[in-house]
């Protein structure tokens, strides 16, 4: 790995990837990385609405990892029960920014998630807006949701192209879930 690290970095650069992280991630890291990404994009004269949209995608996707990754390390501190792991990639290709995130999930959630995301892929912007408002009005979010249950809809609304996703079966119990949004 020591000898190959430069090649790895070069490959990332060639693919337009300017940020890449793999490992345990926390809200605190999200805040600091998000700040750095905003600064970097501003220095490149990216319009402020694009900077905010990329940041918004980054926040929703990383908070998805924090809330739903099945790869968790238990912590001793009582207020924070566990630390979630995942992969976060931010890049620029074909004149658009993108955020690509991945984390382990339990196999049993794959079908439901695929169904949910496929439905979002096929909605127009108006349909997404209506669905977003409808879901937001619900007093109690869906049972498996740890936020307001709006994250994926928000991503689909902000993305300039339909969201892309993939599930890779890892073993009998777990799959790897990847999600890409283009801004």
């Amino acid at each position: 790995m020591l000898e190959n690290l430069y090649n790895f970095k070069t490959e990332l650069n060639q693919r337009g990837i300017f940020f890449c992280f793999s490992g345990p991630i926390s809200q605190e890291l999200l805040v600091e990385i998000g700040d750095t990404l905003k600064n970097k994009m501003r220095l490149e004269d990216t319009s402020s609405s694009t900077v905010l949209n990329v940041f918004a995608m980054f926040v929703e996707q990383v908070q998805n990892i924090i809330h739903y990754s099945a790869e968790k390390i238990p912590l001793n501190e009582p207020e924070k029960a566990e630390l979630s792991s995942g992969i976060v990639v931010v890049g620029y290709e074909n004149e658009h920014y993108y955020v690509l995130c991945g984390n382990m999930i339990e196999c049993k959630t794959v079908d439901r998630l695929r169904e949910k995301l496929t439905a979002l892929q096929n909605m127009s912007k108006d349909e997404l807006k209506r669905y977003y408002k409808e879901q937001r009005k619900k007093k109690v979010p869906e049972e498996d949701s740890r936020g307001a249950g709006l994250g994926f809809i928000e991503l689909a609304r902000k993305a300039v192209k339909p969201i892309e996703f993939d599930f890779k079966s890892v073993d009998a119990g777990y799959s790897f879930f990847s999600l890409k949004t283009i801004i």
């Binding site: 979010p141 936020g147 928000e154």
Partner: protein, 129 residues
């Protein structure tokens, strides 16, 4: 009711109440891991405040440059609560949704909140740069 302030952090807005002019202000960014934890004390204060509020005008200024999806749910809960107080109890409440000209998303999200409100006065206010 006394004035109070919760200072802003990178991930939570400044929230303050001025008892002299009855203005509640939310300003900054909102994307904490757990918004309920942050907003619970504000909501319980609001509950008490609205109960004792009579004909006095109450203004809520919201100036959020970015908020995540769970904060958006919290904002809807806040507006629903205020709307209910105006519709059912005849309270005199105004919300100003403040955004800067280069923040299309904040403007758009303000418009979306406005669409669903009937009784509450909800102004979209573009900030002078």
């Amino acid at each position: 009711m006394d004035s109070w302030t919760i200072e802003a952090t990178k991930q939570t807005p400044k929230v303050c109440f001025n008892a002299e002019n009855h203005i509640l202000e939310l300003k900054g960014e909102s994307y904490p891991e757990n918004i309920a934890e942050f907003s619970a004390p504000v909501f319980s204060w609001l509950e008490e405040y609205l109960e004792q509020l009579e004909d006095q005008a109450f203004t809520v200024n919201i100036e959020l440059t970015y908020f995540n999806s769970s904060s958006s749910k919290m904002l809807l809960d806040l507006l629903d609560k205020l709307e209910e107080e105006v519709a059912d109890n005849g309270k005199n409440i105004t919300v100003n949704w403040i955004y800067s000209a280069d923040n299309d998303t904040a403007e758009e999200y303000g418009e979306e909140f406005q669409e669903d409100l009937e009784s509450l006065i909800f102004n979209l206010v573009q900030k002078d740069e």
